[in-house]
Amino acid sequence: MSAIPSTASEIAAAVIAKRITARAVIDDYLSRIDARESEIHAFNLVMAQDARAQADAIDADIVAGRPVGPLAGVPIAIKDNMCTHGVETTCSSKILEGWKPPYDATVITRLRTAGAVIIGKTNMDEFAMGSSTENSAFGSTRNPCDVSRVPGGSSGGSAAAVAAGFSPVSLGSDTGGSIRQPAAMCGVVGVKPTYGVVSRYGLVAYASSLDQIGPFATTVADAALLTEVIGGHDPMDSTSIPLASPSLLPSVSQGVSGMRIGRVTDLPAGAEPEVVAQLNEAFAALEAAGATIVDITLPSLSYALTAYYLIAPAEASSNLARFDGVRFGLRVNAADTNSMYGATRAAGFGDEVKRRIMLGTYALSAGYYDAYYGKALKVRRLIAQDFERAYEQVDAILTPTSPVVAFKFGDKVDDPMSMYLCDIYTIPTNLAGHPAMSVPFGTGAHGLPVGIQVLAPALGEQAMFRVGGALEVAAGGAQ
C-alpha cells in the first residue's frame, strides 16, 4: 500500500486507481487527529465511526465497479454551521448544543455524491461572528503554526484542520472574510466564491445578503476542484444564480500573461509593514509572470467597515430571531412565552452575538433606521460602483487578506472595534457580492504566514484562479 497523498485530487486519483483504499486514507487522517487534536481543538465533533463507514461504502463501490465521484475517498471537515442530517450542528453556540438537523445542506449532499468523506464538524466563532474563533461557546481553536495564537475566524476550525493536516480540505462560510482571514493566518488557501454560486440551503444564516460557502485547501487546484463540486444552481436557495458550476481547474495553471492586475493606491492604511512587503513581492512576481500592474483607486473602500458592521448585524438581528426556544435548541422555562424568549436567548447566546443583535436592532429601530441602516445601504452602492469602475481597467485586484498576522489569544477579545478592523480588506468584496481568495505568500512578523487576497468581478472565478495559481507558483508552491 502506498503512502497517503496530501492533496484531495491525488487522494481521489489514488483511491479510484485502487492504489490505496478510502478506508486507509480515513484511518490515516483520524490517527493524525488523535495525535494532535487535544492541542489544536479544530473540531466540535470528530465523526470517526461514521467516516469509516462512508469510506467503506466508497471502497465497496470501487470494488464492484460502480462509478464514484471526483472526490472519492477524500476526507473533508465541515464548519459547524452547515446542517448534517442526524449529526449535531451547533454553530458553536449553547443555544443549538445537541441539535441534530432533520436534513443535509445542499453542499453536504453534493460532497457525498462526489464521494467525499465527512470527517467532522469544525469549531467557529459563535454563529460565525468573530475574527479569531475565541467567540466559540466550546473553547478556542489554536493556530497550528503557533499554538499561542488564534487561527483567525470565524471559520478558524476549518482553517486549522487543513493547516494541521487533519483533513486535506474543508468548508467554511464567509460573510465578511471568515474564510479568507483564517486561511491567511493559518497559511492555507481559502476561497469565497461569487454570491449565489454556492447554495446556502442548510447553512445557518448570519447575514443573508453577504453569506457564502467556500473551501479551504493546501493547494489552489484543490480549492478550484472543491468550488466546482459545491457550485452550481440549487432550486432550494432562491438566491442561487441559475448557472451550472463553473469550470475552474484549467484556469489554475493557465498563467497570468496579458492579465491586468489592479494595485489600489488609496487602500485603507493599517497593514503591518511585513504584510505590505509581501504584497509588493506579489505584484513583482505577477509582473515577472507577464501581467501588467495598473494603479486604481477605490475611494469608498475606507467606509466599507462601517457599512458592513451596520448591515451584517441588522440582518443578523432578524435571522437570529428564530432562536427562541420554541422549535429547536435550548429552552429556559418561564411562566409565559415572552419571558421564555428573553431567558432562553440570554442564556443561549454569547456576548459577541448579543452585541451584534443589539447593534442590528438599534440600527433598524424607529428613529435610527435612516441614520444607520439606510445610510449603510447607500454606502454599499458606492463601494459596488467603485469596483465597477475599477474592473473596466483591470481583470483582478490584489490586496493583503488581513492587515495583521495571527495574534495572541486575548489581544482583541474585549475590544470589538480592534477585532472588527481585522476584516478591513476582506469586507468590501462581500458587500459587492464578488469572489475573492486568499493565497499563502511568504511570512511576516514572527515568521507567521501572510495571505495575499485576489479579488475579481462577479462570476470572475476563472480570472481569480489564474492569479491564485500564479501566486502559488511564485511562492514556491504546487504547480
Binding site: V326, A346, M358, S365, Y372, A384, D415
Partner: protein, 103 residues
C-alpha cells in the same frame, strides 16, 4: 435627521435588549453600552459622505420571487422535527402560555 455619530446611552441599550428579547442585567447594560458606544463612534465616518441621489443596495443581485410548481414533494419528517424541539404535544410544538397566568 439623527446623525450616525449620536451617542448611545444605557437607556438605549436597555430598550434595544428588550426589543431583541435578551434579558440582560444592569451591569451587562453598562458593559455593552461602553463597548457599543465605541463601535458606534467609529460609524460617524459615513456622515462625511454625500449620499444624495445614491440608491440603497440591499442585495448584490436583483432578486426575483421564485415560485415552484404546486405539486406534492417529500418534506421534513414531522416526528424527527418534533423530536428536536424542547417540548411537543399532540404533534405540535408546545410553548408556555402566551399571556402569563397571573395576568
Amino acid at each position: 435627521m439623527t446623525q450616525s455619530g449620536s451617542p448611545i446611552f444605557a437607556s438605549d441599550v436597555a430598550k434595544v435588549a428588550r426589543l431583541a428579547r435578551l434579558d440582560i442585567d444592569d451591569a451587562q447594560v453598562a458593559h455593552f453600552t461602553e463597548q457599543l458606544a465605541k463601535v458606534m463612534g467609529h460609524f460617524s465616518d459615513i456622515d462625511a459622505l454625500d449620499l444624495d441621489g445614491v440608491g440603497p443596495m440591499t442585495q448584490p443581485y436583483p432578486l426575483v420571487n421564485i415560485m415552484r410548481e404546486d405539486i406534492e414533494l417529500p418534506c421534513l419528517d414531522t416526528d424527527e422535527v418534533l423530536a428536536a424541539a424542547p417540548a411537543s404535544d399532540e404533534r405540535r410544538f408546545r410553548v408556555p402560555p402566551i399571556i402569563g397566568l397571573d395576568d
